[in-house]
Symmetry: D2
Subunit: 160 residues, 4 copies
């Protein structure tokens, strides 16, 4: 597969650096020697997984198709308005986090609720772009990268 | 929401009766008094859940958009060809089963592997229609209805 | 099954009222007419599900066995110390939330991170009692009850 | 952590070689050059993950404690008898598979239903030993190793 995932995220307004900054906020308490550069490496590591790439491609496709008014039936309005009881965005995004085990659940939920960093920016930018899937996907990637770092460091107290 | 889910499934070639027949095959060993009609009631019960409806609408939308060649980038070819390592169809479909707890995992995996009943028909009909998400969704609904029956009967030995 | 789940939770220091209060904090923004009594009803509804009862019984058993130093091998120390990379507590607890679909992921993660209400009390009471599974289980029940309310109300903006 | 996971499995009657043989049966259709030795390497790779080790240790602990009649309340009888509606064994085991993404769901469910190889042997040996968690755990490890091989080969048609 040749899809440039970093380029795809960039085309939707998100840089890997911005995701790395979220990871740094999540993990710095637990890992005193952590740097944003190490977080960026972790994000890049997460994005190498094929299943992660598929989740990102699928979620962004649904956002883009909603923008173009191409989704069939009621789904158009549901995705376009980020209907609160629609959970498929969480389903796809949480699949990313889950690749690094269950300790990422906590970070994922926290990010999704608190809208930290670029996630908040995306959420505020709903006028110009459909970000229904994208904001959850960024939370999923950041939580996965955090779990990856926690497992690698394997020191206490680690991310939980 | 007013989407007619039974009608949507029918438009893709699947009747609730056909799903009920799969449920009957799965559960009859464990529930001697089971009938196809009771299985149909269980299927209808599953389809009343909002989250189930959203999963079905989303999966079928992706199949239909692939048929119309409207998916962006590599995703078009991946969904159109039912790429074996693409797991988003399982993710969406398994979310349906999961609403009835974990005992449905086994049935879901078994159906997905053995392609029983209408699932096999869909799988054989790939020339005329993209069924990448639909076959998993049918397995997800049937496994959910089985788990629903098992929980309701709560007699041993039940579905596991 | 005759296990008294409310009694089991009480024996570990948690009342249903305390869980209902967490649900109220989570949901009141989205549901202006919500009361703690309605939250208590939702909690009781969640606790009626057999799979929820099994998750609670299993998690509390592991806490109690750790207290009695009866867990085999390294597991004793891992559960007793609430080892941060041990994720089985989240796995069991998140299974409770998942019964109400994916919109509960966010609340679950948020509660697990922020340690709201009785969850914080449990976390602070680690000297006298092993609560490795219990605090996650309470978060799982509260997130499930929140999702249950959100689905029932089905008004926007709801819990997400 | 110093727990010898291969030794722990062996103490319950399962060799890594037996798990590798299940993986070989699952994957040989898709990977003509596959050998049992390559499957054994994949199994060993799966067992190196900390979260996998924790799931195995927890599940086997519950089996062993049930054998010793040490589980509290109704849980003793539920685990001892492998109560069909108890799903915590699937929850723990499926967490293993999930580390390699969702394509493993199918294999996991199939193995759990068909009781192939050593899984069937465990299931038949319930008189002498409680294997409620162990048989699901072996299915989880084998499905994870299959998914690992499928992702590594990344050739079509792969395991799904």
């Amino acid at each position: 597969m040749t899809t440039n995932i970093a380029g795809l995220l960039k085309s939707r307004g998100v840089s890997l650096q911005e995701i790395a900054e979220i990871v740094f906020l999540l993990q710095k308490t637990y890992s005193p020697n952590l740097t944003v550069d190490l977080c960026l490496e972790a994000v890049e590591g997460v994005l190498k997984k094929r299943e992660v790439q598929y989740a990102i491609m699928t979620g962004i496709a649904l956002d883009v198709l909603a923008e173009k008014k191409l989704l069939p039936g009621d789904l158009q309005q549901i995705v376009e308005s980020d209907e609160p009881l629609y959970g498929m965005d969480e389903v796809l995004a949480f699949g990313i986090t889950n690749m690094y085990g269950t300790i990422g659940i906590t970070s994922f939920g926290y990010l999704d609720k608190q809208k930290i960093g670029v996630i908040g920016k995306l959420n505020a930018n709903k006028q110009n772009q459909v970000n229904t899937f994208l904001d959850d996907i960024i939370a999923g990637i950041a939580a996965a990268a955090s779990a990856r770092i926690a497992h690698q460091m394997a020191r206490k107290p680690a991310a939980k």
